[in-house]
C-alpha cells in the first residue's frame, strides 16, 4: 500500500484529503507545516512514498519544504506534489526548477488527483531503480 504524507495547516482540509486518500486505498501520515513534515520525513520509520503539501503555511511553507527535501541527499528521492490555490505561473516555474514533481490546483477533481499521485509514485520508483 502506498503511503502519502499530507501536509496542511488547515485541519479540516487535511482531514478531507486524508479521508479521500484512504477511501482510494492509500496510507496516510499527517503533518501540520513544512517543518513538521521535514521532521516526519527524517524520523519516520514508516516508508513514505510521496509528499502532498499545501503551499501557504506558517513556519515553513510548501515551497520551502520542497527546497529542503530536494536539496537533501537523504530526502530528495521523495516525490513532492504541491496542492494549492496559487495560480501564478512564475511560482509554478520556480517550484519546477526546485524539483517539484507535480502541481495540483485547488479545487481538484478527486479522480484526477488519485491518478496523478499513483502516476507520480510509479514514475519516481522507476527512476529510482534506474
Amino acid at each position: 500500500m502506498k503511503t502519502v504524507l499530507v501536509v496542511d495547516d488547515f485541519a479540516s482540509i487535511r482531514k478531507a484529503i486524508v479521508d479521500t486518500l484512504k477511501r482510494h486505498g492509500f496510507n496516510t501520515v499527517e503533518a501540520t507545516d513544512g517543518k513538521d513534515a521535514l521532521d516526519t520525513l527524517r524520523s519516520s520509520e514508516a516508508t513514505i512514498d510521496l509528499v502532498l503539501s499545501d503551499y501557504n503555511m506558517p513556519v515553513m511553507n510548501g515551497f520551502q519544504l520542497l527546497q529542503a527535501v530536494k536539496s537533501d541527499d537523504e530526502l530528495k528521492h521523495y516525490p513532492v506534489v504541491l496542492l494549492t490555490s496559487e495560480k501564478a505561473n512564475d511560482k509554478k516555474m520556480m517550484a519546477k526548477k526546485a524539483g517539484l514533481d507535480a502541481w495540483v490546483e485547488k479545487p481538484y477533481k478527486i479522480d484526477n488527483l488519485i491518478n496523478l499521485l499513483n502516476y507520480t509514485i510509479e514514475k519516481s520508483k522507476k527512476n529510482d531503480s534506474v
Binding site: D9, F10, A11, S12, I13, K15, A16, I17, D19, D54, N56, P58, T84, S85, K87, A88, N89, D90, K92, M93, K96, L100, D101, A102, W103, E105, K106, P107, K109, D111, N112, L113, I114, N115, L116, N118, Y119, T120
Partner: protein
C-alpha cells in the same frame, strides 16, 4: 464531506478572526506586515472554501485578497478608510459562512453590491499598475487585467502529441490536465488513436477561455518530457459563439493536420470581414448575448396599454349584452374573453413595473459617499425595496429622492460629536421605507437628526417676504415653505446639498406624476419626508357601486369589508361615527355628501369600509354592483380640484362612473 463542513466553519472563522485582527492593527498602525498577515489568512481560507466547494466564499475571499495584494504593493495608497472597507468585506464573508449559497436575497443583494465595490477597487489597482512602469509587476498586472475584463475570452487551438505510449484509462496525468482545460470554457476535443487501439497519438483541443497562452502551457509543465505541445491563439474572442465554427471543427477532423491551422485562420479572417461590415455594434460582436430579456420602447408599451384598455371597455359592453339576452354558449365565450383580457391586462401592466430596488444601489452609494465627504457616520436602512412602481415613476423619482437624501445627510444628521452630546448614538440613521397604501405607493425617507427648526424657517421666510410679520402659520404651513423656490436656511452652503435650489423642484417633479410630498418633523428627533405616488396608471380592479342613480368606482385594493345595514341606522349623532364589529368607524354617506336625491332612500344600504393610511372609513352606498375592471380616464380640469374624485371610467353601456379617491376622503374625514 459534511462532517468536515463544521470543522471548516470553525477553522475558517478562525482565519477570518486572524485577518480581522490584522486589519484592525493595520488601521491603527499602517504597517504592511499586517496586510501580509491578513493576506495569508484569507488565502488559506480561500483554499479551504474551494476544497469544500463553497464557491461564493472562495471567490469573495479571492477578491479581498487581490485588494490586499494591491495594498501590499502600494498601489492603493490614496484610498481613504481602506481598512474600514476591508473590515466590511470580512464581515460580509462571515455572514456568507452561514449562507454560502446566497439563499437569503438580502445577502445576495449585499454580495452583488460588495462585489461591485471591490471590482471598482481592483480596477483602481490595475490603473495604478498601468501607470507605474515597473516591469517586475507584470505578473500582477496580468492577474488584474484578467480580472478586469471578465469577458476577455480567447480561442485557442492546442495539439498534444504523446512522446511515450499513453493509453486511455491509464490514469496518466495528461488526462487530468485535459480535463482541467476543458473546464475552462467552451471546448471541443478530438483524440486520434494508433491503429484504432487505445493508444493515443494526438489530441486536437479547441478551447475558448480567459487563460493566457502561458497559463495553458504551464498546465503541461510537469509532463513536458512526455508530451509535445503546441498552443495557437486563433482569435481574441469566443469562436464557439460564431455561426459555423462547430461545423468547421467537424470538417477539420478529417482535414490533414498541417492544413488545420490554415483553415482556422481563414475562417477567422472571413469572420473579421463580416465584423467590420456591421461595425455598428462591434462592441458586442463575438461575445453573443444570452440575455433573457429584450428592450422595448416605452411608446410601444403605451400603445399596448391603450389597446388593452379599449379591449376592457369593449368587454364590459359585451358582458352587459350577454346579461340581457342569456345564451349559455355566448355567455361561456364572453367569460373566456373576460379572463383572457384580464390576464393580458395584468401582463401589459406588469411590463411597465419595476421594483424600487433598482434605485437602491444609487441611493446607498450616495449615502455612503456623502457621509464620507462630510464626516458623518450614517446607517442607511431600507425596507420594501420590492415595492413595484411604474418605470416612468421610478425614473422621475430618482432625482427627488436623491435630493432629499442629501438634505437629510447634510442638514438633518448632526455631526458625531453633536449627536453624542445630545445622547444620541454617534451613528445616524436614515431610513427609506416603501410600501403600498391603497392605490398609492408611499415612500418615506426619514432621519433621526436634528429635525426642522421652525423658528429659522419662519425667519427666513420673513426675510424672503414669503410670509408677513402678522401671519401665524401652522406648523405644517411652515414646513410647506421649504418647497418655495429659492428657500434655504443652511448657514453654510456645502457641496453636498444644494444652494436652496431643489426642494421646489423636488415638489414639482413629484406633482408632475400626480404624486404628493409631505414633511413631518420633530425638533431634536428627526424629519420625515413622505412621497405618495399613484400605483396604477390606467386600469384598476375596482368595486362598482351605486348611490342614487349614479355609479361610482372604488379601487378594490383599498376595500376592506362590506356591511349591509338599515339606512335609518345612520345618524349624525356621535360625530358621524358608525359602530361596526364593535369598532367606531367614521362614515360618509355619498347621498348626503353629493346631494343625490333623485330616488327615495333605500331601506337597506351598504357600508364599504376602506382602509387607507392605516385608517378606516365607511362609505355608504345604495348598492354594490360587483367587481369591475375600470379603465381610468382623467377628468377635466373642473374636477381636478375636487376632494373626492381621482378620475372617471366609462361603463359598458357608455355611461360614466366617477372613481372615488378614497385616500383624499379618508384624509378629509379623519383630520
Amino acid at each position: 464531506m459534511t462532517q468536515y463542513d463544521q470543522m471548516f466553519r470553525e477553522e475558517g472563522n478562525e482565519q477570518l478572526e486572524i485577518a480581522e485582527q490584522a486589519l484592525l492593527s493595520y488601521e491603527s498602525h499602517a504597517d504592511i506586515r499586517y496586510i501580509e498577515e491578513a493576506f495569508r489568512a484569507l488565502h488559506t481560507f480561500k483554499g479551504g472554501a474551494h476544497i469544500f466547494a463553497l464557491t461564493n466564499l472562495g471567490d469573495f475571499a479571492h477578491m479581498i485578497e487581490s485588494v490586499l495584494d494591491g495594498i501590499r504593493h502600494e498601489l492603493l495608497t490614496d484610498e481613504p478608510r481602506i481598512a474600514d472597507k476591508l473590515l466590511k468585506y470580512l464581515d460580509h464573508l462571515k455572514k456568507l459562512m452561514n449562507d454560502p449559497e446566497l439563499k437569503d436575497s438580502q445577502i445576495q443583494l449585499k454580495n452583488n453590491q460588495l462585489v461591485k465595490e471591490i471590482k471598482a477597487l481592483s480596477s483602481k489597482i490595475s490603473d495604478a499598475i498601468k501607470k507605474s512602469d515597473q516591469s517586475k509587476e507584470t505578473a500582477l498586472l496580468e492577474a488584474f487585467i484578467e480580472q478586469e475584463d471578465e469577458e476577455n475570452i480567447s480561442t485557442y487551438y492546442l495539439t498534444i502529441q504523446p512522446l511515450i505510449d499513453i493509453e486511455t484509462g491509464s490514469g496518466h496525468p495528461v488526462f487530468g490536465i485535459l480535463d482541467d482545460i476543458q473546464e475552462m470554457g467552451d471546448h471541443k476535443m478530438k483524440p486520434a488513436f494508433k491503429n484504432d487501439n487505445s493508444i493515443v497519438v494526438r489530441w486536437d483541443l479547441y478551447v475558448a477561455c480567459q487563460a493566457t497562452r502561458e497559463d495553458l502551457e504551464a498546465q503541461f509543465m510537469f509532463i513536458e518530457d512526455e508530451v509535445e505541445l503546441t498552443v495557437h491563439k486563433i482569435a481574441n474572442f469566443n469562436l464557439f459563439n460564431e455561426l459555423g465554427f462547430e461545423e468547421l471543427l467537424n470538417v477539420l477532423d478529417k482535414t490533414p493536420t498541417d492544413q488545420k491551422l490554415t483553415e482556422l485562420t481563414g475562417y477567422v479572417e472571413s469572420l473579421k470581414e463580416t465584423l467590420v461590415a456591421d461595425s455598428a455594434d462591434s462592441d458586442t460582436t463575438g461575445k453573443g448575448s444570452k440575455s433573457g430579456s429584450i428592450r422595448v420602447s416605452t411608446s410601444k408599451i403605451d400603445v399596448l396599454m391603450n389597446l388593452v384598455s379599449e379591449l376592457v371597455t369593449d368587454q364590459a359592453g359585451l358582458k352587459m349584452m350577454v346579461s340581457s339576452s342569456p345564451d349559455p354558449q355566448f355567455e361561456g365565450l364572453v367569460e373566456n374573453i373576460e379572463r383572457h383580457i384580464r390576464q393580458l391586462r395584468d401582463i401589459a401592466f406588469e411590463m411597465t413595473l419595476v421594483p424600487i430596488d433598482r434605485l437602491m444601489g444609487k441611493f446607498r452609494r450616495l449615502v455612503r459617499d456623502c457621509s464620507i465627504s462630510i464626516n458623518k457616520e450614517v446607517n442607511f436602512k431600507v425596507t420594501g425595496e420590492n415595492t413595484e412602481l411604474d418605470k416612468i415613476y421610478i425614473d422621475t423619482l430618482s432625482d427627488p429622492i436623491m435630493h432629499i437624501l442629501r438634505n437629510c445627510l447634510d442638514h438633518g444628521i448632526e455631526s458625531p460629536e453633536e449627536r453624542s452630546k445630545k445622547g444620541k448614538p454617534a451613528i445616524g440613521t436614515i431610513s427609506l421605507d416603501a410600501y403600498y397604501s391603497g392605490a398609492y405607493v408611499h415612500i418615506e425617507i426619514s432621519d433621526d437628526g436634528r429635525g426642522l427648526n421652525i423658528q429659522s424657517i419662519q425667519n427666513k421666510a420673513l426675510e424672503l417676504g414669503l410670509i408677513n410679520e402678522n401671519d401665524k402659520p401652522s406648523t405644517s404651513e411652515i414646513y410647506e415653505l421649504i418647497f418655495q423656490p429659492g428657500f434655504s436656511t443652511a448657514q453654510n452652503v456645502t457641496n453636498v446639498s444644494g444652494r436652496g435650489v431643489g426642494m421646489d423642484v423636488v415638489k414639482k417633479n413629484i406633482e408632475d406624476i400626480h404624486g404628493e410630498i409631505n414633511i413631518s418633523s420633530e425638533a431634536g428627533k428627526g424629519t420625515k419626508f413622505t412621497i405618495k405616488v399613484p400605483l396604477t396608471l390606467s386600469i384598476i380592479d375596482a368595486l362598482l357601486v351605486k348611490a342614487d342613480h349614479s355609479h361610482f368606482v372604488l379601487p378594490l385594493q383599498i376595500v376592506h369589508k362590506c356591511y349591509e345595514l338599515r339606512y335609518d341606522s345612520l345618524t349624525d349623532d356621535f360625530n358621524k361615527l358608525l359602530v361596526l364589529d364593535n369598532k367606531q368607524i367614521p362614515f360618509i354617506d355619498l347621498r348626503t355628501e353629493l346631494s343625490l336625491d333623485k330616488t327615495p332612500v333605500p331601506e337597506y344600504c351598504n357600508a364599504i369600509v376602506v382602509k387607507c393610511r392605516k385608517m378606516e372609513l365607511a362609505i355608504i352606498t345604495d348598492e354594490i354592483i360587483g367587481e369591475y375592471q375600470a379603465v381610468l380616464k382623467s377628468v377635466s380640469e373642473y374636477y381636478k380640484h375636487q376632494e373626492f374624485v381621482s378620475g372617471a371610467t366609462i361603463l359598458g353601456d357608455g355611461s360614466v362612473a366617477l372613481v372615488l379617491d378614497a385616500d383624499k376622503l379618508v384624509e378629509q374625514k379623519t383630520n
